[in-house]
């Protein structure tokens, strides 16, 4: 799964200001409306983290307290089927933001996220973000507006997907029947 070599080269200086990190932030939808100075402010509030292949950023059910921004490498989002099988829900690359809602509220993580290749990430903890909100920093408020836009869009896509299934039930019966038979088959095997 690793696409090492295809990822954009991002210089990261562990001791000082991360060079190139601003480009990654500015390329994401969530941080896209921030000015250069605001991005630098967010970068300063972040911690840089490195993950080896197979290492977990977090596991399903753990308390969510941070957002991650992928700078380099690849991650996989893993869930589990009702029969306990590992299901890869998504593969995420540089410029992806993981766990956006944890900036606003905690609660259990809905999936496990692990590194597929060597990964460089920025981690923004809710505590740091709350401090920015309390100080009424425009960057924090622009991030929430970006988050609202993303979430409302997802909500609309969900509704459209559900609507499509029930608008033309005959068209989707076969797909749900096969899904059910597969699940029953796996249960019998187990």
């Amino acid at each position: 799964m690793s696409q090492e070599g295809e990822d954009p080269v991002v210089e990261i200086s562990l001791g000082g200001t991360p060079a190139g990190a601003e480009t990654v932030f500015a390329s994401t939808l969530l941080f896209g409306s921030l000015t250069g100075e605001e991005v630098r402010e967010v970068v300063r509030a972040c911690e840089q983290e490195h993950f080896e292949p197979g290492e977990c950023l977090f596991r399903q059910g753990e308390e969510a307290d941070s957002l991650f921004i992928v700078v380099q490498g690849e991650l996989e989002v893993v869930g589990h089927s009702p029969t306990g099988e590992k299901v890869v829900l998504a593969v995420l690359g540089p410029g992806t933001v993981v766990g956006e809602l944890s900036l606003i509220e905690g609660g259990p993580r809905s999936a496990t996220v692990a590194a597929v290749s060597q990964c460089q990430l920025f981690r923004l903890r809710r505590g740091k973000f709350d401090a920015m909100r309390e100080a009424r920093r425009p960057a924090a408020y622009k991030i929430i507006v970006g988050l609202a836009s993303t979430v409302c869009e997802r909500r609309r896509q969900t509704d459209a997907r559900v609507e499509e299934v029930f608008q033309d039930p005959a068209k989707h019966i076969d797909a749900f029947e096969s899904q059910l038979h597969e699940m029953l088959g796996r249960l019998r095997k187990a």
Partner: protein, 171 residues
């Protein structure tokens, strides 16, 4: 809107849970960029599928907001407390309404258009930031709701299949 109107709205809103957190000046600035809107009984505020570009703050009267959901039908919310806000996410981006809203009785509202909100927000006005704090709470609710619906339909194929078969029989 006259100065007397602004003062009256301020008096009403400062007694409400959310707007009581506003400083007097902030509330005055927010009201100042809003438009007054009065609906007659049963008059629609917006229709399902119409473009949404404003949030509304209830001053007096009562609204009914009808949401349509698959597969369980409709949910009707009653909005009757002064200071309640409807359609807050429309100040962030223009979307089509996924609900319908209309007045149950004579209803008075303040309309906050997206461009008015954007001006306040871009100017770093606390009046806008407080609305964004409120929006953050709504975002979490929206996401939870979306996840719940996804799980109901796609995570429970047996129930969805029963629903789909019933629909086909009824068609």
């Amino acid at each position: 809107m006259t100065i007397r109107d602004v003062e009256r709205y301020q008096e009403i809103l400062k007694e409400t849970p959310f707007f009581s957190t506003y400083e007097e000046e902030e509330l005055s600035r927010l009201i100042g960029v809003c438009e007054r809107k009065v609906l007659a009984p049963r008059e629609p505020l917006w229709a399902l599928g119409s473009p949404g570009d404003s949030a509304y703050v209830l001053i007096g009267g009562r609204l009914e907001q009808t949401h349509r959901f698959q597969p369980d039908g409709t949910r009707v919310d009653q909005i009757g407390r002064p200071g309640e806000i409807v359609g807050l996410s429309y100040v962030v981006k223009e979307w089509r309404h996924q609900s319908a809203a209309s007045a149950v009785e004579r209803t008075e509202l303040l309309r906050l258009k997206r461009e008015s909100f954007q001006k306040l927000f871009e100017g770093g006005d606390m009046a806008a930031y407080r609305l964004v704090d409120r929006l953050a709470e709504e975002v979490v609710r929206e996401m939870r709701d979306a996840n719940r619906r996804l799980h109901e339909v796609f995570g429970n194929p047996a129930e969805t299949l029963r629903n789909l078969r019933r629909r086909v029989r009824q068609a």
